[in-house]
């Protein structure tokens, strides 16, 4: 089912430095693992692991989002008591309601933070595209012997700590920070600008942090492009700009789409960037969830926020998946 070609390609790029030359065997062997104990064990170990540590936790999140807050440990009711058995289970189910969700609907803080998360993620994706496209394009047009180095330079930030890279911007963007000092020194401004703790800082942070995820799919779609296509277009009377617009851009569209999704999806649920760079009125859902959980210790509401965030993300994820599958079919 989910064979995310581009994602695979991106991880290939991230880990190997260069995508592996596909030497797909001509004969798709039917030789599979034997249907015996070994195969069962092989399937069961990762399967059970993911069930217990990935799927069941979600079910628990959904369950707790239906519970009520309580001042206790764990801070929610009703809890399920194993010893109580079926009766306890019925009692727990009976105690469930959609109160938290109603609460989320009514309090416009949540509404706004969902909307502004989507907005920030969307705008950041566009900004990342605007900045990433020229970079990816120039990388793909660079002399062949330079490309591995350039690729390495794009990949390197991915490996270095996300937190540190976000932190690095604080020193630059704050009121008495390097940017303001530079601008004032050059006489462009007289009073320091307030950039840190605004939405602008969050945009910068997201674009900066996720730029490699935009550049890599763009690069891999642009690099695959055959130079002779452009030559043919100019030969047929296109100006270079028109050739770029009519040939390069359409052919890089899969990369554009993949890159936008790869920035948009993680940006929606981002916590570190709005927390460190954003201000108190920067609303992003990841931060809201964190605050709800750690500061307010309201686990049921935090769970409800998570459930809705997930529902919001399902649409782009499914769209992304569709696009990836289409790409794969085209490739096959």
């Amino acid at each position: 089912m989910s064979n995310l070609t581009n994602l695979t390609e991106v991880t290939d790029l991230l880990t190997a430095g260069e995508p592996e030359t596909p030497q797909r065997p001509k004969r798709r062997s039917r030789m599979v693992l034997p249907k015996n104990f070994g195969r069962c064990a092989l399937i069961l170990v990762p399967y059970v692991w993911l069930l217990v540590l990935f799927l069941i936790p979600f079910i628990i999140v959904v369950k707790i989002s239906l519970s009520d807050t309580a001042i206790a440990m764990p801070p929610y009711t009703p809890t399920f008591d194993w010893a109580g058995g079926w009766a306890s289970f019925k009692e727990m189910v009976g105690g469930w309601d959609f109160e938290n969700f109603t609460w989320l609907m009514e309090d416009d803080l949540y509404w706004k933070s969902y909307l502004s998360s989507l907005e920030i993620a969307f705008v950041s994706s566009l900004l990342a595209l605007l900045i990433g496209y020229p970079i990816a394009y120039s990388m793909a047009r660079a002399p062949a012997e330079w490309r591995p180095t350039l690729l390495m330079l794009i990949i390197l930030p991915f490996w270095t700590s996300f937190l540190i890279r976000v932190y690095a911007w604080i020193g630059i963007l704050k009121k008495e920070g390097l940017l303001n000092m530079l601008l004032m020194h050059l006489g462009i401004i007289d009073d320091p600008l307030t950039i840190l703790n605004t939405d602008l800082a969050v945009y910068i942070g997201i674009v900066y942090s996720y730029l490699p995820f935009m550049v890599l799919p763009l690069y891999s779609s642009l690099e695959k492009m055959d130079d002779s296509l452009l030559e043919a277009a100019t030969d047929l009377g296109c100006s270079p700009f028109k050739a770029f617009w009519l040939i390069t851009v359409p052919l890089s569209l899969p990369g554009v789409i993949a890159g936008c999704f790869l920035v948009f999806i993680p940006a929606v649920g981002e916590f570190v960037i709005p927390d460190l760079l954003g201000g108190s009125n920067t609303l992003m859902i990841g931060k809201t969830l964190w605050v709800e959980f750690f500061a307010n210790r309201d686990w049921p509401v935090a769970s409800a926020v998570a459930v809705i965030l997930l529902i919001l993300l399902v649409v782009p994820i499914v769209l992304f998946q569709r696009q990836q599958e289409k790409q794969q079919e085209k490739g096959a």
């Binding site: 797909r24 690095a168 020193g171 935090a302 998570a306």
Partner: protein, 272 residues
């Protein structure tokens, strides 16, 4: 020979300046004598001594490394198994769910993963700490490992395995003597990726750790919230330099092997 055009050169310069300038500034200011992080007060390495003298940092670093090594190792093993299941196990009931579970953590917001794991540990009444962080890290890193290893397995030349079996190797022997050595680079990449993911993680570790276990990102985060300090700059520099050296060395090594290999291939054909 193709050269950089003016547009390409400037796009790349600006792009890489944007990517690297913040880090470079951070590194420069880690050598700042002054406590005021934005005013240059002369060269000094005193903040580095301060980092090494800071027991909190050192303890957190030790926890982080241990978590990283254990979780990366487990994640690589589980991820390789998951990749084998995805690529080789054929059809089995629940395969769609399985591949869904492998790919979903890659796009899942960390806050959700963290919250859900915490709620699991609470309802199971686990003591949160070192081991719960490891469980959490293994869970998301194994998915990355699975993607890395399976992309190598897909292009694996099956006739090699068939040849091994044809020569009398059992499935197990084939796997360990032929398959593993050949996909080893992917397995190593998967381990390194898992290790760095664990090293970098703040959100999931914050949710799943307990009083006893603070990782370095958690420590850095709690300090950073209080403002920029030269100590954090120094610590960040150490981390960035360590990881970058590792990554660059690894890639140079691969590259050199590749070049060497090409040269040998050419020599072999020239010889005959």
């Amino acid at each position: 020979m193709k050269r950089f055009s003016f547009f390409n050169a400037s796009a790349l310069t600006l792009g890489f300046a944007f990517l690297y300038l913040p880090i470079v500034l951070l590194i420069i200011f880690s050598f700042n004598e002054s406590r005021l992080v934005t005013v240059w007060g002369g060269f000094s390495t005193k903040w580095y001594s301060a980092v090494f003298a800071n027991k909190g940092f050192m303890d957190a670093a030790w926890v982080t490394v241990r978590v990283g090594v254990v979780s990366a190792t487990l994640a690589t093993i589980l991820g390789t198994m998951a990749a084998l299941v995805l690529v080789r196990a054929g059809r089995f009931p629940g395969k769609t769910l399985f591949s869904g579970m492998v790919y979903a953590p890659l796009v899942m917001p960390e806050v959700i993963t963290g919250l859900s794991l915490l709620l699991l540990f609470v309802s199971l009444d686990f003591d949160r700490g070192f081991w719960t962080i490891i469980l959490a890290h293994v869970t998301f890193s194994m998915c990355y490992s699975a993607v890395v290893v399976s992309s190598r397995l897909v292009t694996f030349d099956m006739s090699l395995e068939e040849a091994a079996m044809d020569l009398g190797a059992s499935r197990m022997a084939t796997f360990f003597q032929v398959t593993v050595p050949i996909i080893l680079p992917a397995i190593v990449s998967a381990w390194l990726l898992s290790f760095t993911l664990s090293l970098d993680d703040l959100v999931i570790a914050s949710f799943t750790s307990g009083p006893g276990a603070t990782t370095l990102p958690m420590k850095i985060y709690s300090q950073v919230r209080l403002g920029v300090t030269p100590e954090i700059n120094a610590l960040s520099t150490i981390l960035v330099v360590l990881v970058s050296t590792g990554v660059i060395a690894a890639s140079l090594l691969t590259k050199r092997r590749e070049v060497q290999r090409r040269r040998e291939e050419r020599a072999a054909f020239a010889e005959s």
